[in-house]
Amino acid sequence: MNGVTQRVGSVAWELILVVVIVAAWWFTSASSTNMYFPSLQHIMESFGHNWFGAGFTENIVPSLRNFIVGYLIGSVVGIGLGIAIGRIAWLRWLLTPAVEYIRALAPPALLPFFILILGIGPEMQIGIITEGVLFIVLLNAIDGAKGVEPTLTSVCTVYRIPRWYRFFHVVLPASSPQIVAGLRTGISLAVALMVISEMTAATRGIGFFTLQAQQNFNFVDMWSGMVLLAIIGVIVNLLFVRLIERPVLFWQRGMSGAAGK
């Protein structure tokens, strides 16, 4: 009994602040006459109206499609190339400076380049998202693959374990913690690049809608867009932890625990 109350108390303790902040926002904005800060009730009404009707297919679908396509291409290519570079010593040596340079180059700086060669449209947005995700994942995959325990590699050589088997059963699992870390950074970057590309040059999408609403002085719509984008950022991160990080790395915590770390 006591344990249950304690647990309920500790969950409540963690949730108080969120509830207080939302409630404070709701009540202080309720009678707001400030154009820039409409009441939360109006924001939520316009949220339902904007995003659960025609706005869903018109703006949410293209945004999320670009995000998913760009993220998938970037991750797959990044993992493949990264492991190849990480496992081949001379290639890694040769490409390290190039990779370090690209790591330091801010991804949004390349946005105008993608607008130039791909024009305004989904190709450009998929292009910039792919580029950003690809290099983050690549860097992490290189680090992961080069750190594979040398003894494991030697054992594989001694037992003449075929390359493809070695790749899927030794190299990939051994580098997975680092690759997953890269994929997680990549997901935040992909959401950011999705919004940035839509706000800079697009004709549809949630980011486009939000900035357009601001320029047309529809501040309630603008707020509904900002709330949706914030929610997408949070949900995408949560989904990643639940659907990828934990299932893929379920063995890792147990292992490091056993090692007494």
């Binding site: 108080i16 040769l94 390290t96 400076p97 801010a106 130039l116 900035l211 950022g233």
Partner: protein, 283 residues
């Protein structure tokens, strides 16, 4: 395998590949420097050949020589340095504000478990929101100013630095703290002699990541919000059809990133010279 053959294999003179491998293992910096030169030459030759032979459409890709010429002109003119200053100014100011406030809040929350759990959900909800999301509102309230860049940078780095500081303070060995308490060390002394140095590796890593993020967010604010700086100039060069300037500025933005990354890695080594992660011997 018979013993004599084994010995013969071992005493065989090393091939040039083995020698090269040993040399580069012993002098990683020399190997890196050689790779830098080769990469630069490869990049230049590849770009020049692909553009001169028109494999890359000339409409979008000027030759490497043309871009290098423009880059020289850009570097000589004063306009570039003013633009660069706008970016560097917001980068530095944003990093200091977000870094200091994030570190202080993180240390307080790291040392106080109840307070940390009280704020945890809000931190977890705020952290994944991309800074650019608040741009439309910030444009209304602040206009195209330095403050808008600082606000975006704050959203971009504050939570990262804060969480790093929290993890850092929590990573400090409990036994060490209890020992200090048993020996009657004052609370202040415990903080400065044990908790702060113990959490420093995490905090410094957080600041290094924040330094790169601060630059990225500065460029986003310039690109999307229209604040003066490199991001804005790259976009304007593109809109004006001046692709040589666009490529020059993108490449120079990369150089700025390299300088910042290298600088903060060096700072990390200097501050943490005593820490096992920075010492070769212990590894």
């Amino acid at each position: 395998m018979s013993a004599p053959a084994d010995i013969a294999a071992r005493t065989r003179p090393a091939t040039w590949r083995q020698r090269a491998a040993t040399f580069f293992n012993m002098h990683p910096r020399v190997g890196f420097a050689i790779a830098v030169v080769i990469d630069l030459i490869l990049f230049y030759v590849l770009w020049q050949v692909l553009t001169v032979t028109r494999v890359l459409p000339p409409r979008f890709f000027p030759t490497a020589n043309a871009v290098l010429g423009r880059m020289g002109a850009v570097l000589v003119g004063s306009e570039f340095w003013i633009t660069l200053w706008h970016t560097v100014e917001s980068w530095g100011a944003g990093l200091i504000i977000g870094g200091v406030l994030g570190t202080l809040s993180g240390i307080v929350l790291g040392a106080n478990d109840r307070a940390y759990r009280f704020c945890r959900v809000v931190i977890e909800l705020m952290r994944p929101i991309p800074p650019v999301v608040i741009l439309p509102l910030a444009l209304l309230l602040l206009g195209v100013t330095l403050q808008i860049k600082l606000l975006l940078i704050f959203q971009g780095i504050f939570w990262i630095v804060l969480l790093q500081a929290v993890y850092g303070v929590r990573s400090v060995d409990k036994v060490m703290l209890e020992t200090a308490r048993v020996y009657g060390m004052s609370r202040t002394r415990q903080f400065f002699s044990i908790q702060l140095p113990g959490s420093l590796p995490f905090i410094v890593t957080g600041i290094r990541i924040a330094a790169i993020f601060s630059l990225i967010v500065s460029i986003v604010a310039e690109l999307v919000g229209g604040a003066p700086g490199l991001g804005n100039d790259i976009l304007r060069a593109m809109s004006a059809g001046d692709d040589r300037s666009m490529y020059s500025l993108i490449l120079l933005t990369g150089v700025l990133g390299v300088i910042i990354t290298a600088g903060f890695s060096m700072l990390e080594r200097l501050i943490l010279f005593w820490h096992p992660s920075q010492r070769k011997v212990s590894q």
